[in-house]
């Protein structure tokens, strides 16, 4: 059974419909990528799955349960976390406070503090900076903080929107190394990445969106080598 199934998703802003029926599926343990040009509606897919934007038509199923239009809180409780596009931290709070807010829906417990330690093992730089203000971190460090925060609830699925946007090449590599590490631990991830070629390299499956509709899909390998996709999106 798929971990996440999205059927014929319609959503938009105001009178404008942006998604005209998106369908996708994520199996447990997979990394699935959504690629497509800017403005295709990739971020909008995430926002409507995660209850931040009303789904107007269609269904979202998560771990076998219908979760269409559930609140973020309910989805977090069911094991889905979301790392939105752009830098998303609480700038005046410390790194550790930011991390702990990732588990806002949970009670403070010894297990939670253990989980924080596990995140520090994955991201040693966060331990080093744990009393620094999140707003003072570099872009790459903030992104690691965001990813660490999304791991804190031990989610079944992470929605990851453009994790390397605006990062320097070296940091970019570091983030991808971390994503591959997560995959080795069996973490399921649905992600959007502007460097599609690199994302497809590590993806089990991929969907190509265009103007709010499914365009192509296939294994990461197949999409990466697809002549049409190459010409249109991979710039090669």
């Amino acid at each position: 059974m798929a971990l996440l199934e999205v059927h014929d998703l319609h959503a938009g802003y105001g009178k404008m419909e942006i998604l005209h029926g998106i369908t996708l599926k994520v199996e447990p343990g997979q990394i699935v990528s959504i690629i497509g040009p800017n403005g295709a509606g990739k971020s909008t897919v995430f926002k409507s799955i995660f209850g931040l934007l009303p789904v107007r038509q269609g269904r979202v199923l998560f771990a076998g349960e219908e979760v269409t239009n559930r609140s973020p809180e309910a989805l977090l409780r069911q094991g889905m976390t979301f790392v939105p596009q752009g830098r998303n931290v609480f700038p005046l709070m410390t790194v550790e406070e930011n991390l702990l807010l990732g588990a806002y829906i949970r009670k403070r417990s010894p297990e939670l503090l253990e989980e924080v330690q596990r995140v520090y093992e994955t991201f040693p730089i966060l331990r080093e900076k744990r009393t620094a203000r999140a707003g003072d971190l570099s872009g790459g460090q903030q992104q690691m903080l965001e990813m660490g925060r999304s791991l804190l609830l031990q989610p079944k699925l992470i929605l990851l929107d453009e994790p390397t946007l605006g990062l320097a090449p070296l940091v970019f590599k570091e983030i991808f190394r971390i994503i591959e590490g997560l995959r080795q631990r069996g973490q399921t991830i649905l992600m959007v990445e502007q460097n599609a070629a690199k994302a497809l390299e590590i993806s089990d499956y991929a969907y190509v969106l265009e103007l709010g509709k499914n365009r192509y899909e296939g294994s990461g390998e197949a999409i990466r080598n697809d002549e049409r996709v190459k010409r249109l999106y991979l710039g090669r």
């Binding site: 931040l52 609140s71 809180e73 939105p84 998303n88 931290v89 609480f90 709070m93 990732g102 806002y104």
Partner: protein, 291 residues
Amino acid sequence: MTDVFQLLVAGLSIGSIYAMAAIGFVLLWQTSNTINFAQGEFVVLPAFVMVLFLTVFRFPFAAAFVATVIVSTLLLGLLVKKVLVERLLKMGVLPLVIATIGLSMLIRYSLQQFWTPLALPFPAIFSRQPIRVGGVIFSSEEVMNVLSAAIVIGTLQLLIRRTKLGWAMQAVAQNRDLASVLGINVSRLVGVTFMLNAALTAVAAVLIAPVYLVKYDIGIGIGLKAFYAAIIGGFNQIRGALLGGLLVGLVETYSAAYISNQFRDAFALVILIGVLLLKPEGLLGIKEEWA
């Protein structure tokens, strides 16, 4: 020399009341982007309510105070949030600002029309016995005002720093979208903030009423000074609002005594303009370059 100290306590006394109103003002701004131009009337209305409980219902003082805080919290907190904020916030900051100006007039002139255009006396809460320290005589009422405000503001700070609710408030203030992504119910939190603000202004009301008497239009001055205080101290900092409130109280008291009583209100404005020119983010404010 002795009046310097007396005036210090007098200035801190009125300043700490401005500070409470200013802190509430900043809290509303931070969590809901509401600039509440009715903040002055949020202080006046509870003062009238308190008079009602004391003189009409003949409640003992403590019971009247508790009842006033509850009524204020429900009326100026919950009701205002549900009726005005929830509907208007979606449309941006400006409609809500204008709505709060309307609300301030509604409260002010309803009190004048349907209650009384006259100033109502308010019983002294604290003894007016002077306290003598060394050669200096202080009004014990003023000292108690400062202490009461300090307790209320200190408790609020603890709430914000140490409780989960306070964390959520900080989170919403710093990044509202991210707060929702982490499962914080932003709308409910805005409601709680409005209720906290209304409780703060109710306390300010009860402390200021014996000083100014209870009159429908005293909110104009109080609201303006809370606004000045917030800007002087820094709109995004509670500590800033505290500092700003105390500063406005001190400046107004000293300038009334030493320069001109008639122009007392002008001097806070001079400070305000100075701060805006030299440090526009406020004395303790933080530049919002990350926003």
